[in-house]
Amino acid sequence: MEPFFRKLLAMDRRWIFLALGLAVIFPTFIHLNLPGLKPSPNVTAVYDLIEGMPEGSKVLVSFDFDPASKPELAPQAVAVLRHLFRKKHKVVAMGLWVTGVTMAKDIVTRSAKESKAKYGEDYVYLGWKPGNFAVIENMAGDIHGCFPKDNDGNETASLPLMKGIHKLAEFDLVVSLAAGSPGIDTWIAYGSDKYHFKMTGGTTAVNVGSMAQYVQAGQMVGLIGAMRGAAEYEMLIDKRADAAAGMDAISLGHYLIVIFVLLGNIAYFVTRPRKGGA
């Protein structure tokens, strides 16, 4: 067995790339629809929060990510927006990441169109402003001052929806979909902890671990984690979409990495020099 494992350890890494590529591409052509997905408590908490708010509640959705995290966070955004529009909540969208402005606008516009939401009355897209945490501080005092115009150049104060919203604390909920900083932690530190509004959000797989502490401490309600979280949310709103479709690829990718780790370790133990050996 030893020569085989030695050969395995010396394998060109491009074979690994190829295997992973195939594992991810294969399910996009042949849907496996692997069973087992069920909503986790954290995702259910986000859903229950939005579901339980009275119709017409004002919700701020902050797109704190860029195209690099689009596959994980865009399905979350679409699912949450569908739910918000379905419940007839009023949505104000914005972003703290400059490279995500156009992408966020596209997601918001498409979701609104699908739900027949009217711009200015049911939703508004403010866009981006430089300043990172300072934008949150600024919005806490005067949203119209911080965003005198929306992303399309309309006077913010002239939009019917924005006439009833002047400060961050007037939102019934703030949702941050974040791939890093500025993101959920920024909104908590400079926004919700100080100005006392309800927070929830979603993040990428690598950030779920860092955000768990905020959920436990009650600083945010629930958390949508990665594409799996988005798929769970799609399940809750009964609308299978991109996340559910991507779960097979994610699953096979995970399994393949587990196999690689196991194989690597077996090969390591079989081929390592023995104590007292030559």
Partner: protein
Amino acid sequence: MVFLKRQLPLLICFIIGTISAVQYYVPTHLSSDVAEGLSNWYIIVAMFASLLGFVSVGMVHSKKIQRKEPGWAYSALVFLGIALMVVLGFWSGGKETYDDGRISPFGWLYNATLVPLQSTMFAILGFYVASAAFRSFRAKSFDAGVLLVTALIVLLGNVPFTNYIWATGLGIHDIAGVKFEMTDIVGWLIGTPNAAARRGVTFGVALGAIATSLKIIFGIERAYLGGGD
């Protein structure tokens, strides 16, 4: 000159730093107004910092082109990219889509370049992670073994199909009345040992940030003033 270069920045830093720190703990309208005013200033300064960053990037890459350093063509591409984005941005009136719903050249450039480039860069990480996991993730010691087993549990537990096999195939739902599905194990790992470690790191970083901020406010740490006289 020394006053303008040294004392004045230190004085501004001391006053603004102290006000910013104190206002956080004073829940009055005046305090909120001060915070809003300061954040306005911060946004203005951040804009100038962006401009400074832009100039700095320009200088670095123009020097590379001038000296024909290895990879200078990439530096030329930086300028080409910036110019293209700025020209198309102005041409499209800064809009990604026109009022009739058509996508503008600016929006097209964003969708056709930035989105796939960033997505590709991030996706490539997945391939390197797979390769690194195979080559480097070894149980060479007890600690590394614990990490390895934990990682495998989290990896497997994050796949819904594993939960399905665990609960339906193996029929494990609870042990002695305690919920023991795969998601519960992963949830405990993330919510207890992981969260405890993260909190420790967060506290450490926060204490470090407070110490550094105090050193800057009181003029002990002056590296931000730059070198020279």
